[in-house]
Amino acid sequence: MKDQEIDGVLNNAGRAPHELAPEVLQRVADSIKPTLRPVRLLPPPWVMTCGLVLVCAAVSLAGAARAGFFGFEKMDMLERSLIFPALAILAWMAGSEFVHAKIPGSLRRISSGALLGIGTTALLIVFAFLFRDYRTDHFFSAGIACLLAGLLHAIPAALLGWLLLRRGLAVNSVSAGFAAGTLGGLAGVGMLELHCPNFQAAHVLVWHVAVVPVSGTAGALVAWTLRFRAGSRPYKRISPK
């Protein structure tokens, strides 16, 4: 059987008339009438994405300004010119994904999970290329401190991002949470790169990069929990007027 035949069968079945009582439509129209007034549209997606990247950069810079720019001072030109543009590109991608997740009917180029994968892999590649010190001094103690510091900066970045896009509607809240968490995680990595002077490959590859997947997953979990809680509230039936 050919696809065209299936198309024909589906088209015939889909063309069947659907009856809907005019009172139902009238009730809908009546329910929106009292609050019908002009609305202020959302700004263009690129403006919102710029805003998110700026939030990300501001959180990273504020965190590093408080803790000290020791990492940035220790870096050479090659390291600076590869790490920060890479972080900026990834933040732009995560921001754009977050914006699309908050506008219903937007076209998604990649899924949020894929974005997280791309972000993590890209950082691993850049760091593996740049950092060649293979010692593992204070691997856990120094690493956990960096992971916590990164996550501590990821939270305000993700929350500020969510606040910036509060007028949007996340039709897939888990996906939006993923994107927000990834964006926050990138802000956390940005702060660590500016601040942390520990350039041991294992430290950077494991603990700095881990901020992105941990933060992304936490964002998705928080969104899922909030949605689950909202979903457990009793369904409110709208009575006909």
């Binding site: 059987m1 696809d3 035949e5 299936i6 069968v9 589906l10 088209n11 015939n12 079945a13 889909g14 069947a16 659907h18 809907l20 009582a21 139902v24 439509l25 009730r27 809908v28 129209a29 329910s31 929106i32 009438k33 609050t35 019908l36 007034r37 002009p38 609305v39 202020r40 549209l41 959302l42 997606p45 997740a101 908050k102 506008i103 219903p104 009917g105 937007s106 076209l107 998604r108 180029r109 990649i110 899924s111 007028r167 949007g168 509607l169 039709v171 897939n172 996906s175 949605r227 689950f228 909202a230 979903g231 457990s232 509230r233 009793p234 369904y235 039936r237 709208i238």
Partner: protein, 188 residues
């Protein structure tokens, strides 16, 4: 020009507060969305409620529609969101469970309420929920692959995969149905 450009114009006027455009949109989109809800809800009353709930949500977030974008996927994205919300509420709350039981009894008592005899529903019965949704959007709402991807917040590749899987299952179903019809004709 987009085939549904009128919808986009109406939507722009609705955002400006034009009541005539709003009612026009409700008349054009309402029956489509109602059918979308009816395909997976338990009763017509439930679908009516979902339609009203969806329009209230659409009304609340009408500022999120971007005039340069296709309107139909935007409507369906919100409808789908409301339906998922409703499904969760029905499943996870005791009230929802009681309502579902009551509806099931209601349906058993009054077979006219059932809409499962709808040809498309019967045809799509073997498909998974996401496959059925993609096929319904394409064949009933007349959306393109890209528009379905927009409405379901997924990528075009993922929608293509779902449609491909759905067609595979439909090929088996339709062939089996034809085989049965042929056999019964031969016997008679």
């Amino acid at each position: 020009m987009h085939p549904d450009s009128n919808l986009e114009k109406l939507m722009a006027r609705y955002q400006e507060g034009d009541y005539a455009a709003a009612t026009d949109l409700i008349e054009r989109i309402g029956p489509q969305l109602h059918r979308f809800f009816l395909a997976q809800s338990q009763s017509r009353k439930d679908a009516d409620d979902l339609l009203q709930e969806t329009w209230l949500r659409i009304h609340k977030v009408r500022h999120t529609y971007r005039p340069s974008e296709p309107a139909l996927p935007w409507f369906y994205a919100i409808a789908r969101h409301v339906r998922v919300d409703h499904y969760r509420k029905s499943v996870w709350t005791a009230v929802g469970k009681r309502q579902l039981e009551a509806m099931t009894k209601e349906l058993a008592a009054d077979p006219r309420e059932s809409h499962r005899s709808d040809a498309l529903d019967v045809l799509l019965a073997p498909l998974s929920e996401s496959e059925r949704e993609a096929i319904e959007m394409m064949k009933v709402a007349g959306m393109s692959l890209e528009e379905v991807a927009r409405a379901t917040s997924s990528t075009v590749g993922s929608v293509k995969q779902k449609v491909h899987r759905a067609y595979k299952k439909l090929r088996v179903t339709v062939s089996a149905a034809r085989f049965k019809t042929g056999q019964s004709e031969e016997l008679s």
